[in-house]
Symmetry: C2
Subunit: 387 residues, 2 copies
């Protein structure tokens, strides 16, 4: 159990933006909302999944929509609670806890807004361990939890409870409604038992982003390199070691908001040891694939984050500007995100990228060594590590 | 009280298509569904609004979507009942009756499908006395009944209960969801008490369409002119006398399905006494405005129906084909549809037509005489009749 007060909340917001891989909503707005809620209502309890009773009723809360829209429509803060209450009413049961569905600017902080306002604890886990653009891209969904019913609320007071035949239809319908609501909405979905949380959630992502945020902040306070500190912090967790993929300055960002998503391509001109090279990153809300001079160096579901080279703070897709000095880092995704059933949902092919998933460790043996290429000791299937 | 069996249902379907003014869904599919339901479950009771107890819980049922789509997606028939049940569940109360929301092919018959399958009576009234393309275009809405909550169901089994801040938002959001459901959906909305039905519904539209359908059929059986019989049947009802607006053959139909509506323009080349003239009719699902050689001869909310010249059967917008011989008739809309608050919702300006509403009677004094031009004896405001 961790108590999340103002200082912890700031670190969570900063660390979460890194796992947000360019998406997950604006970290600044998310942080402000959560800080205000904690200031008004006191610290929030963060529970390890192992501390959650099996029979608890857990209701994840989040925002839905294109990050480009979220940034222009600052929520009042009570819509998220309203969506939780609506789902409670539908189920005829009060929630015992809330939980994030993804890591990223606004969606790592919304559950803390809800928790502070309702007195509920937040569970230290989520459904992606990163950010993804679509609702069926949740370990919850991959491992059998229905996303329906979903409660949807907008800031005008419109609401809906949707029941879809599967989680793809859920995404399709909820996206349509969210677009009609102006491009962003507040949702509560994938309600599940404490037992199901333990089985299906990516564990300890919240405490990890807290650790990432704190590490970067402390390094800056001690005049050490935040970037070097970051590179060490995910090693030995359920993620793998972070590695540098590129260093340069932003040359161009092609971005359009279409069908409720921010879709496009970021181009980065290399600096220092990457001088003369060019990185392109394709994104749909989140960064999906990074290539250097046309050669793929990382893809979903591994994490591709664009950081300010100086401060190591993550820059979201909609925050990118010409000339920014950035370092792109790759972080291996947890095992639960790499199973064959998981890769069907969020592998590169799903996003129409013309490459199969090759784990980051295999793409960069210089950083990870050959030993990592064989199956792990639990014998888990990792599609390209055994070849 | 009227018992609606197979013969009455056929007449209702044929008459309703005339009040459907080109929209309201395909009459053929609607009729088949209702006939099957009545064949399997027995006749349906049609109740006059005066027979409905004040404390009854009345749940109107309908289909939503572009008629061009409805025709390609034949419903199973149980989706309409599912939307009623979903709304009952939300309200925690069983419906005592169902009711149409509009007159027209599919939406005059869907309530009979629901009634036959559930044993509920149908109330002889609706919210338009004709067909209109949008959900807030209901006398229910004009006179203060919230359309929310609305239950929406598709034929795959997806469903939603929507609560909107007003009936315009309801239309906007439900339309978005319907589009995502493939362009058509089954809805239950504007749930109200028996007392509210009496106050807000356009009365006796169902028995009127039954009478229209029967009159046309019997005229044909007696080898009389169905068209001439039709011209007499609405006289003396809460509608006014039907008049001929044009006679000719279909020259062109420009139609596109956009934002969930079938929108476009029909062009008719004059025959006989209209030889050398051209009528154009603009529509959004329903016919909105008719002009002869550029001069407006009728607009919403008065009814503009395109009929087969021989049989007097209505032809829906999506049924129009080059060369069809047609007669266009105009029918004055009931008073409850012409109040200032009503005209704000469905007057020509709402549809971006560049004309004010001028009642059909005023546009055609040759048919209606000058006596009709003064305010009626209840002193009801009729915007252009007093000028």
């Amino acid at each position: 159990m961790i108590k999340v007060g103002l200082s912890e909340m700031r670190d969570i917001a900063s660390g979460a933006a890194i796992l947000g891989t360019g998406g997950g909503g604006d970290p600044y707005i998310g942080k402000l909302m959560a800080l205000t809620a904690i200031r008004n209502h006191g610290p929030v309890t963060l529970l390890d999944p192992t501390e959650v009773p099996d029979d608890w009723f857990v209701v994840p809360t989040a925002m839905m929509g294109a990050p480009t829209v979220l940034i222009e429509r600052i929520p009042r803060g009570d819509e998220a609670v309203a969506s939780l209450r609506l789902l409670e009413k539908y189920h005829g049961r009060k929630a015992d806890a809330t939980m994030p569905i993804e890591a990223g600017g606004v969606n790592s902080t919304i559950p803390f807004v809800v928790a502070a306002k309702t007195g509920l604890p937040v569970i230290d886990g989520d459904g992606m361990g990163r950010a993804f653009p679509e609702l069926q891209m949740e370990t919850f969904s991959v491992y059998g939890i229905p996303g329906s019913p979903i409660a949807i609320h907008d800031e005008r007071g419109n609401s809906a409870v949707l029941n879809a035949v599967d989680n793809f239809a859920l995404e399709w319908l909820a996206r349509g409604l969210t677009i009609k609501m102006g491009g962003s909405s507040h949702i509560a979905e994938y309600a599940m038992s404490g037992k199901e949380v333990k089985r299906t959630a990516v564990r300890n992502c919240v405490s990890l982003v807290l650790k990432i945020g704190r590490t970067i902040r402390e390094a800056a306070e001690k005049k050490e390199s935040p970037l070097e500190a970051l590179m060490r912090v995910t090693e030995g967790t359920n993620y793998g070691k972070a590695i540098p993929l590129f260093k340069g300055k932003i040359l161009d960002v092609e971005r359009r908001t279409t069908a409720g998503f921010a879709v496009g391509k970021t181009t980065i001109e290399g600096l220092d040891e990457y001088s003369g090279k060019t990185m392109t990153i394709r994104f749909q809300n989140e960064n999906l694939m990074a290539a250097v001079d046309g050669e793929v160096v990382a893809t979903v579901p591994d994490l591709i984050s664009i950081l300010d080279t100086e401060s190591a703070q993550a820059i979201t897709t909609e925050g990118l500007r010409y000339g920014f000095r950035v370092t792109v880092v790759g972080i291996p995704t947890p095992e639960i995100m790499r199973t064959p059933e998981a890769l069907k949902v969020w592998g590169p092919r799903y996003f129409n990228l013309e490459t199969d998933y090759i784990p980051l460790e295999l793409r960069h043996p210089a950083f990870y060594g050959k030993a990592k290429l064989s199956p792990d000791k639990e014998g888990k299937y990792r599609p390209h590590l055994t070849s």
